[in-house]
């Protein structure tokens, strides 16, 4: 079913056209992350026909693919070799692509223990705001030549350039995996997680829904078994984690505004009205609330974190303080001087 195709020439043409005619481009892969970020007015540049895995060598732990490659295709190829994308990217739809995964920078439940998307980006090819197709980073684990443009691209929502190709580090799947659920209130759960975090327990996901702490353990047979014995609780169906990752748990089934809150992992329960769901061992919290953005952000900033609003909103990402905003603008100006790539997707000024 694979339809490998190098479409970089026509992508280059479209960028040249946009530069010449000063037309902004709205970069779109599978369009599964459309409900995050500001609306971009511009011509659609679709990456989906630029697809295919270019190289994958399981013994090197490196995979390189075109930006429009479906995530499902990549994960199936890895699965066949018993390997994985350790950061468990949320697909949020059947058509999710590699490019969208990197551009949005979202990571799933394993993130605090295994790292984020950007941690696994080794190299990229990028069409720049000067209309050049350039290569940064590479296919090696360690590479400190020049500035790390590739990791900068992760989570930049297409505002700094058009990703055409990405090399990722991948990892073997753990030999053993088990999930349990323990009845604890949120405070107890956070205290337990803080204590376990200082011990070599192979926790690879931890979520709390207000009543139960859900834990996933991954490692060798011995460590998983002994952790299960020690923690007790009742067995949990492992599909919980993919539902959490894809926001398919009943918690998310609502029309109330959804917030993603990122805070230091052992921050107290947010003192905000609405419903909360803890993920990432406490470092990521999902919040359903009608409170105004300023109220949510004030509470979250006080904890040293930030809040992202899903759905249509003028200010979905936490506003940047000075001088950070100024440096964002300067970077945008240097890398995309004509503001053709997703202008205003993250911030109106960028």
């Amino acid at each position: 079913m694979r339809q490998d195709h190098d479409d970089s020439t026509s992508m280059m043409e479209q960028v040249s056209y946009a530069l010449n005619k000063r037309v902004p481009l709205r970069i779109q892969g599978g369009n599964t992350k459309a409900n995050i970020g500001r609306k971009v007015v511009g011509e659609i540049l679709n990456t989906r026909s630029h697809r295919g895995i270019i190289s994958y060598d399981p013994t090197e732990l490196v995979l390189t693919a075109r930006a429009g490659t479906p995530l499902t295709e990549i994960e199936a190829v890895l699965e066949a070799e018993n390997q994985m994308l350790p950061f468990e990217p949320p697909h949020l739809g059947q058509s999710a692509t590699l490019g969208g995964m990197v551009a949005s920078g979202f990571s799933g439940p394993r993130r605090p223990w295994a790292g984020s998307v950007r941690d696994y980006v080794l190299g990229t090819r990028i069409i720049t705001g000067h209309g050049k197709l350039l290569r940064f980073g590479g296919e090696v684990m360690k590479n400190v030549a020049g500035y790390d443009l590739s990791r900068l691209m992760a989570g930049s929502f297409g505002c700094l350039g058009l990703l055409t190709e990405i090399s990722l580090k991948v990892l073997p799947k753990p030999r053993q995996c088990a999930s349990v659920k323990l009845e604890l209130d949120t405070h107890q759960a956070l205290a337990k997680l803080a204590a376990w975090g200082q011990q070599p327990i192979p926790i690879s996901a931890a979520s709390h829904d207000g009543k139960f702490l859900h834990l996933r353990l991954e490692g060798g047979e011995g460590s998983v078994k002994s952790a299960c014995d020690r923690l007790g609780g009742e067995a949990l169906d492992g599909s919980y984690w993919s539902k959490l990752r894809e926001r398919q748990l009943p918690f998310f089934d609502t029309s109330e505004p959804l917030w993603r809150i990122s805070v230091p992992n052992n921050s107290a329960v947010l003192n905000l009205p609405g419903k909360q769901l803890l993920d990432w061992g406490g470092a990521q919290r999902w919040l359903l609330t009608d409170e105004p953005a300023e109220v949510v952000r004030l509470a979250v900033t006080a904890l040293g974190g930030h809040a992202t609003r899903f759905g249509t909103h003028e200010s979905p990402f936490q506003p940047l303080p000075e001088p950070l905003l100024r440096y964002h603008q300067r970077l945008k100006l240097q890398l995309d001087p004509q503001r053709i790539f997703n202008p205003g997707r993250m911030y109106a000024e960028v």
């Binding site: 090197e60 950007r118 000067h130 350039l134 590479g138 020049g146 030999r175 200082q198 990122s262 930030h306």
Partner: protein, 499 residues
Amino acid sequence: MNILYDERVDGALPRPDKAKLLAQLSDAMPSLEILHTLEDLRPYECDGLSAYRVVPLLVVLPDQIDQVQTILKLCHSNNVPVVARGAGTGLSGGALPLEQGVLLVMARFNRIIEVNADSRYARVQPGVRNLAISQAAAPHGLYYAPDPSSQIACSIGGNVAENAGGVHCLKYGLTVHNLLRVDILTADGEFMTLGSDALDCPGFDLLALFTGSEGMLGVVTEVTVKLLPKPQVARVMLASFDSVEMAGRAVGDIISAGIIPGGLEMMDNLSIRATEDFIHAGYPIDAAAMLLCELDGVEADVHEDCERVEQVLKLAGATSVRLARDEAERARFWAGRKNAFPAVGRISPDYYCMDGTIPRRELPKVLKGIDELSNEFGLRVANVFHAGDGNMHPLILFDANQPGELNRAEALGAKILELCVDVGGSITGEHGVGREKINQMCAQFNSDEITLFHAIKKAFDPNGLLNPGKNIPTLNRCAEFGSMHIHRGNLPFPELERF
């Protein structure tokens, strides 16, 4: 030497008035220690790459962060270049001073501000030594994972600037993977926070961009690092092989078996012999290559993994596999590897350490290439290799007192790095470009890519005052020296003066 700042190709530098600057700095900060006489400046003329030396205009040794801000503001308004320096252990000349620049020494900021066991982070000043962080975290059963071999001495600010690695990178990552937040001062002396105490922050990932930027984008004033629980146990295995190719394949086999070792190191025969003579680690001096494979984690898993790895190694043709019997033997096995550089230093008056990375599958080809180059240049090369992550440290043996040998060593080093680039690797895995590999950057990147790097620099430091001449070559430099590297095999005779 072509490596020192050369205004003809690296761009004109401002000509600061030393007396005026000295007066301004001491007026603004009477308590600031400033070195300005030649005898006081001399100790700061180089970093860990001691072949290259330049006496700076002035050395400032602030002990309060607001002094750093004042220094940067004064230098900015007077258009004076600033080179920041931590412990000065860098191996690429990243902290090499400029004759017309201030050397800003951050080593006195050596306070550990906070160790937070519940949130598993440590907040430290930039001059804190890498190892000191793990020592401070040890009572909580935690540690800071990146462990460059200079970890006793190197500072965390320098680690951030270089994106330092170590022997455990494959499993635990580089500096960039182990940071939460870095506070910096910009070129014009403004405070800015990159990253946050949470796992991510709004906006672009400037923390990732800044890590490894070699002092070109700002000066680190505070670092918040992640701490990890110390592995319950660590076991190390030593395997001997009759050929480096077989050892190289064994590395791939271990990873194919689904095992990510904490450390996986390879040494060739020359390194094994030099090290065994020096450390008496019990290394197999007749082996063509040896692997050190460390497995760490929860006891039951490590036990399982040891059995698996032993089988894999035997199937891969290891002539012997020894599991360190106890902690003392494990320490001895590692002591050999960690002293490989000084050990090689004993068998040669001088050595030059390279830092290329390659896809592991290219190892046999690259080692063969190095061997041929070694013969061609008439210099021995010992190979020490972070095998797990493809980071090679070929050590070129030479005698600086023999006319032309340093130049020959440099030329051989340049060829080795180009070989790494040719097989899809990089000229530097963890030591940085600094001044040392400035010409080889032209082999790894084309002029458009280099132009984009300069654009990044411009966004942060439009006047080009932070560490000028490092990390990214000018296009003029590439035109002058880059072409030399492209014509493989046609290197002009290395004794010829290279501009």
